[in-house]
Amino acid sequence: MLLGLLPPLAGELRVLGSSPRRGSAHIGYVPQGRNLEAAVAFRGVDLVGLGLDGHRWGFRVPTRPRRELPSSVTEALEAAGASEYARRRIGEMSGGERQRLMLAQALVSKPQLLLLDEPFANLDVRHQSVMAAVVAEVAVEQSLSVVLVAHDINPLRRVVDRVCYVAGGGVAIGTPEEVVTGPVLSRLYGGPVEVLTDSRGRRFVVGLEEETAHPHARSRASVVEGAVR
């Protein structure tokens, strides 16, 4: 809906001061679970380059020496921490490396809003924390808002500003401390849910074993900064 792919069922939606329109360069988008293995003879830099001008017809007219990349591509790769491996084939990269590459692709058009759908799905804990740190850093440095969807709040705990927890047809909005609590979630799920906190402040949602938690986390640059500090 934010991308302008679906119209709202009712009401009006305004994103960055105007109604959403397909193809806005102001919004960077990384969808969930993209299958990039298919692209074998395809490098990271090729993928990021598509974020820059993949929507234009024809091919990029080579105006500079062959090996040199457009500066926005280099900057986006740098910001996402993907420069080192960007000239390798996508098929040779790990899931975490691919995820950061997709982030670079979303950043290359210099967006003001970043939409990330399940950026931590299928990542191990190390890549999850690297990814969370990269997202937080990018949000501060480029002063952009990040809206992301995640099932697990923990990798994001310290960088997220606001959480919009969606479950059982209801929502709860607030800081993670306000929302991810036993009473709030029990109300949302309509059943007993407990939130356990471990020694390092990580929260675990238990109870209602057949249902899955699905917090929509929302972070804004200003508070991300506070959280990182």
Binding site: Y29, V40, R43, D46, H55, F59
Partner: protein, 300 residues
């Protein structure tokens, strides 16, 4: 010279004995108009197949390309039945079905089933058209297995024209085509007309298939459209490189196959397909050996 006569020429025992003076052989080979036409048409088809093949492999639409060629068979047989040159029938059937297959989109779950059903129907039509045509079965054989030695000067200019149109279409679509191939959701969000790109691309494949059928025939189209591109996918990093290598493999096997057929009276398409197949196996074996060596190093 009629097609049948040329066919006879190509299959009536060794056309020339092998000599060690390859240059003289080449000169003698190219002294014949039908050999020159074959080399030129083969070159155009190889370039087109190498370039289009990269996207066919990248988009995982090999089955659609395969289906297009078989649907083209019905078109070609129909054209023969009504007395038009087969290429027109190929073009008409391939372009129509290419537009439809492209319109089905990449994601549709039952897409391959739909293609398969249409493909079976088309082959049935082909069988009917062949029986309607009272002439010899030579025409059918040459559609199925290719008849590059039968390319007339008229066919050649048509092939060159269609080949250039195909390359121009790929050039015009290049970036959106790459974008939608690797990453359809993001491309859609960035306002790339995904459906339109898919339709135009399948029509481009249809054009490529139509001219490739002359060289290797309906049944062996994979050898030109998929094998060289699959080889390139394994050895290359970037799309540009992969297309160049794909073209090189397709061109090499076509020309070499033609040259070998000068000495041995077996079907040209057999030689072309065999060469690209051998290269593919060699590349697989080489990458397997390399992986093993790397693993051995890691263990040691």
């Amino acid at each position: 010279m009629s097609v049948a006569a040329r066919h006879l020429l190509a299959s009536a025992g060794p056309v020339s004995n092998f000599s060690w003076n390859l240059l003289a052989d080449l000169r003698q080979m190219l002294g014949y108009a039908f050999m020159r036409n074959a080399f030129e048409a083969g070159a155009m088809v190889a370039v087109v197949a190498g370039v289009v093949g990269y996207f066919v492999v990248l988009r995982r639409t090999a089955f659609a390309a395969h289906a297009l060629s078989h649907i083209g068979f019905a078109g070609a047989a129909g054209a023969v039945a009504v007395g038009v040159i087969p290429l027109w029938g190929l073009l008409a059937f391939c372009l129509t079905s290419g537009a439809v297959i492209g319109g089905l989109g990449q994601r549709l779950r039952e897409r391959d089933t739909v293609i398969g059903i249409v493909l079976a129907f088309a082959l049935g039509l082909g069988a009917l058209f062949i029986s309607l045509y009272s002439g010899s079965s030579n025409e059918a054989i040459s559609i199925l297995f290719g008849e590059i030695l039968g390319v007339s000067t008229g066919d050649l200019s048509l092939t060159l024209a269609i080949g250039l149109i195909t390359l121009a279409l790929v050039a015009a679509l290049y970036r959106p085509l790459l974008f939608t191939s690797v990453d359809e959701d993001v491309a859609e969000a960035r306002r790339v007309p995904v459906r339109m790109v898919s339709v135009v691309f399948m029509m481009t494949v249809a054009l490529a298939v139509a001219i490739s059928v002359q060289v290797v025939g309906v049944l062996l189209i994979f050898g030109l459209m998929v094998t060289p591109a699959a080889i390139a996918e394994r050895v290359c990093r970037s799309p540009g490189q992969a297309m160049l290598v794909g073209v090189a493999v397709a061109l090499g096997s076509t020309w070499l196959g033609l040259a070998i057929s000068w000495y041995f009276a077996y079907p040209v398409s057999f030689f072309i397909i065999s060469i690209s197949f051998v290269v593919y196996v060699a590349v697989r074996v080489a990458s397997w050996a390399k992986e093993r060596a790397v693993r051995a190093m890691a263990v040691a």
